[in-house]
Amino acid sequence: MEHFPWLTTVILFPIAASLLIPIIPDKDGKTVRWYALIVGLIDFAILVYAFYVGYDLNNPGLQLVESYTWIPELDLKWSLGADGLSMPLIMLTGFVTTLAIMAAWPVTLKPKLFYFLMLAMYGGQIAVFAVQDMLLFFLVWELELVPVYLILSIWGGKKRLYAATKFILYTAGGSLFILIAALTMAFHGDTVTFDMSAIAAKDYSFNLQLLLYAGFFIAYGVKLPIFPLHTWLPDAHGEATAPAHMLLAGILLKMGGYALLRMNAGMLPDAHAFFAPVLVILGVVNIVYAAFTSFAQRNLKRKIAYSSISHMGFVLIGIASFTDLGTSGAMLQMISHGLIGASLFFMVGCTYDRTHTLMLDEMGGIGKQMKKVFAMWTTCSLASLALPGMSGFIAELMVFVGFATSDAYSFTFKVIIICLAAVGVILTPIYLLSMLREMLYGPENKELVEHTKLIDAEPREVFIIACLLVPIIGIGLYPKIVTQIYDSTTNQLTALMRNSVPSLVQEAYKPSSPYSLLSAKAPEIELAASK
């Protein structure tokens, strides 16, 4: 371990900094927000620098590795590392959390506690993506819930206690399965170890794999969320404040997808091959079901919350596609939705600050006085409905093409799934544009204008949206800037997954195209040799 412990630094720095908050002299809560913002920026800068000096794009394995024995009796190690699955999400966490701190500027209730929790979450979230020890993963996963619970239950809306309790019960219930599965895996076989790569290398019987997989799947399915385990999300979102939204949609949901990739697909590939069709079907259900529900919602926050669920369906289909392209698309969809979801929820917060209502029926024509809000809402919604030139489009396209060319499924199954998923392509603009129309377009709602003063967006708000749009549009214009960060890792992971599909074993990947069957076999042989 010759290199500087970068990952430990980025995790512990905000947590340590948060401990100083109580002693900062601050009466009106204005110093502490600057303090939190600066800490966030410094941490993000460290992260970018560490990525720049210590991360090799072509190395599919773990990098920036650190390992310290913590409790030797339990074989608990403080072991960190980042590969292609972790690194982009760690960066996303740093980015979105820093912006969330800036979005929290108007928070006046208990600012010290609020920023303390934000900084604690900052470190905690990065830790979830970076830890390489199963027990430690479980610990940070659980610890992560506490600040979210507190933020929901103290700064939430009217039904905040119901929502917060639902959230904590749901996720804690899910985590129970992680604990059981993790312990089973750790004690399985001859050696007792919590190290993730050692656990992955163990040999599990097929039935055990199925049980473990189901356990993980329930836990991560709650987080992602997957139908029918999703109902905590609209409630939590319906009551949360804008910064909490940004973290929930931007990062917390991605933990589910990340863990599905790392543990379900990466550690239990045989079970993954068995469960994959279930994932695909649930993915389609997520897309279509949540899109319809979102269309019917009259509450702005719940509408966007369901749209998040709908978008997460693509992640599931991508993970289960058994193609490089699909896995890569799933990863990109997580990053892309992290940015787009955060921007949409920030806009919801912006709008609520002005209209003091979330019901679409009580709005209408508010774009007339707020031209900038209008522009930002339109851009973010277009990003969310997968307009080309923005990140959502390329992610969805990769999942579509990846699944269409997958050789793990029958032709009929693929046709049905793709047609249904493509229905989502029609439904997304329906609910998003209807929302824009009812909220911003048309003549002004007289009652609303009488009671409230609609002031156009302030520079801080424009800046936050601009910050989120830069990567959204950047990825849309040239996706390789992000895909190359994780490409080597996802390709390796896909190869591992493919090894477990009985029909695909011993076969090189071919894009299942009738043309490739017809044309010369030469390129395929080359591919097989290179594997």
């Binding site: 079901y289 319809f292 890569s328 080309p388 269409a404 996706p479 009738p514």
Partner: protein
């Protein structure tokens, strides 16, 4: 010439940069940027001018025989998958570049006059510039994915521009309708694209066609699948080019400002569908069923559009249905295999229809001075009449456009439409008959429009008609129009006036191609066909064909077309100018037919009932399931734990004997259970 090609990517990128700059200005320094007004306009127009000059240079070098130029970069990759983006300059893309940049350039100049008093002047220029950029990107796309990307982007621009006056409710509804209807088409395009990629492993037009042909002929791929893929791809053009049954968005799109109706919804974007069919020719050509579907869809659209246009009173709606009908001609031409004729009509139509729309804008601009800014009265032809006296330039250019669209020689439309009809006769006489009958209808409704607008007495000051129209439009416009000061109910002049120079000049310039452009496609010396022909045809075949030109056949076909057009014009003259025929009497005699046409074949009503209300109901039901059943189960579990906890707490009495009793009972229970089993 090489540097010109190396930097051809600037053509779409320049307008994008212009739009980005203005956009950033609007967001960060809103007031200052809005005050710049004409400086911004000059900036955007000159950028488009640069793109136009480059396009002309490229077209010239292509005409001189420069080989096809391709340049691509790797855009996305994962594993073995590679997706490239870039641009390709060949004959058809160089032609499209010129069409798009010239129309865009003229429309932008026109906009200065038309939008002079609008608050959104600067924003409008930014939107126009993004649109030009996307449209130019579309025509130089080398593969289907890139076409799809720009296809969606032009759709977005169309959405933004239709909803430009977003505080008007009809505009708000129309822009969403346009986007969603187009998404339905894109749904097909996406599926078709995935299917073709699955089958052929490529997104390149030529490669897809070649491999698909090979697969079908060798029997590896069921030919029905190829048909399905082709028709799915064709759904994209059906929506974008407003073909039956996805045409419903185009007439509503007229809620946008008139310059964009000319640019987007007449000349360029709606023609993108025809362009895509042309690009996909290597695939479509070998699939006869798909080609027939295309041809019949086009013919049906041409006919439906024309029949609806007969009774429209809103000048822009009338032109919109005429656009739909003309697009039907182009699509039909593509379907019967006359690639050249379809694109030829695309080009001539782009110019004369853009001019007609700009004329209608000029008329509306003039009318607004008299009747105020409410579109219900400003666009209704029943309030117009006799405008030729007040706006001579507009009247003459409109007449030229009308003659061109009716197919009167030697105007541009004659040559292109006649070529389509001639080829339709060879392909299928039934298609020819529909096209021919539609030509008659076209002549009638276009001259009806001309006579109602420009001839006779000016009716704009007739308050009776005004009140009637306002009352008929009812609540829809009322509140919105009265809310704001700019929507005055009454104008300030008694008579309309000719539009300012910036508006009149583009009309005059567009009149030139509307008159003369057809001459490059004379059937006996078809310069156009030598330049633009189907990828599978060779130049030698074309010159050989041209050598066998038959004057008698041409005479008969052209004579028939001109005859029916003249008949249409005469009927329109008798009804709307000489007043020998009373159109109202005919309408009363056949009320069902009249209503059918006036209500646009009831498409909107049916779609509203089936799709809009249906999908809303379904969504509400699913939401009910979500909150009652799925979430209900969750809450029920919560409730059950609470209740059982509440119940169990009474057992915790604190007395050890009671606990012992419970333990004893439990043990007894276990023993009993195990002894039984």
């Amino acid at each position: 010439m090489e540097p010109l090609y190396q930097y051809a990517w600037l053509i779409p990128v320049l307008p994008l940069l212009g739009a980005t700059l203005v956009g950033i200005g609007l967001i960060s320094l809103n007031k200052a940027t809005n005050n710049l007004r004409q400086i911004v306009a000059v900036f955007i127009v000159s950028i488009t001018g640069v793109a136009m000059v480059m396009s002309f240079a490229i077209l010239w070098s292509q005409i001189q025989g420069h080989p096809v130029y391709n340049r691509t970069i790797e855009w996305a990759s994962a594993g073995d998958f590679r997706l490239t983006m870039g641009y390709t300059i060949d004959h058809i893309s160089s032609l499209m570049l010129v069409i798009v940049t010239t129309v865009a350039f003229l429309v932008m100049i026109y906009t200065d006059g038309y939008m002079a008093h609008d608050d959104g002047y600067v924003r409008f220029y930014a939107y126009l510039s993004i649109f030009s950029s996307s449209m130019l990107g579309l025509v130089i796309s080398p593969n289907l994915v890139q076409v799809y990307i720009f296809w969606e982007l032009v759709g977005m621009c169309s959405y933004l521009l239709i909803g430009f006056w977003f505080d008007r409710k009809p505009a708000a509804d129309a822009c969403q309708k346009a986007f969603v209807t187009n998404r339905v088409g894109d749904f097909g395009l996406l599926l078709g694209m995935l299917g073709l990629y699955w089958a052929t492993g490529s997104f390149e037009f030529g490669v897809m066609g070649e491999r698909l042909e090979e697969l079908v002929s060798s029997g590896t791929l069921w030919s029905g699948l190829a048909v399905i893929f082709a028709i799915l791809v064709f759904l994209g053009p059906v929506a974008k080019s407003a073909q039956f049954p996805l045409h419903v968005w185009l007439p509503d799109a007229m809620e946008g400002p008139t310059p964009i109706s000319a640019l987007i919804h007449a000349a360029t974007m709606v023609a993108a569908g025809v362009f895509l069919i042309a690009r996909m020719y290597p695939v479509f050509e070998n699939i006869p069923i798909a080609m027939n579907t295309i041809a019949w869809t086009g013919a049906a659209t041409a006919f439906i559009g024309a029949t609806i246009a007969l009774t429209q009173n809103d000048i822009k709606k009338g032109l919109a249905y005429s656009t739909m009908s003309q697009l039907g001609y182009m699509v039909m031409a593509m379907g019967i295999g006359s690639y050249t004729a379809g694109l030829f009509h695309l080009m001539t139509h782009a110019y004369f229809k853009a001019m007609l729309f700009l004329c209608s804008g000029s008329v509306i601009h003039g009318m607004e001075a008299v009747v105020g800014h409410n579109p219900v009265v400003a666009q209704d032809m029943r309030l117009m009449g006799g405008l030729r006296k007040y706006m001579p330039v507009t009247a003459i250019t409109f007449l030229i456009g009308t003659l061109a669209i009716c197919g009167i020689p030697p105007f541009a439309g004659f040559w292109s439409k006649d070529e389509i009809l001639g080829q339709a006769m060879t392909a299928n006489p039934a298609l020819w008959f529909i096209g021919w009958a539609t030509a008659g209808l076209t002549a009638f409704y276009m001259f009806r429009m001309y006579f109602m607008t420009f001839e006779g007495e000016f009716r704009g000051n007739d308050t009776g008609i005004r009140q009637q129209l306002l009352a008929a439009s009812g609540v829809v416009f009322g509140p919105g129009a009265m809310d704001t000061k700019e929507h005055e109910d009454h104008g300030h002049d008694d008579s309309p006036h000719e539009s300012p120079l910036t508006m009149a000049l583009p009309l005059v310039v567009l009149a030139i191609p509307s008159v003369a452009l057809g001459l490059i496609g004379r059937p006996w010396a078809n310069n156009f066909e030598e330049f633009i022909h189907a990828p599978s045809e060779s130049l030698a075949e074309i010159t050989a064909e041209a050598g066998q030109f038959d004057w008698t056949e041409f005479g008969i076909m052209a004579g028939l077309s001109v005859a029916i057009a003249t008949a249409g014009i005469i009927v329109a003259f008798l009804a709307y100018r000489a007043k020998k025929i009373d159109p109202n009497a005919i309408a009363k005699k056949y009320p069902a037919l009249y209503k059918f046409s006036l209500n646009k074949w009831y498409f909107d009503e049916i779609y509203n009932q089936v799709f809009v209300i249906g999908s809303r109901r379904l969504a509400r039901q699913i939401m009910e399931v979500d909150s009652r059943v799925v979430d209900g189960a969750v809450n029920l579990t919560g409730l059950a734990t609470l209740l059982s906890g509440e119940g169990l707490k009474y057992l915790e009495t604190g007395r050890a004997q009671f606990y012992a009793l419970i333990v004893f009972a439990a043990v007894l229970g276990f023993v009993l259970v195990f002894s039984i089993t």
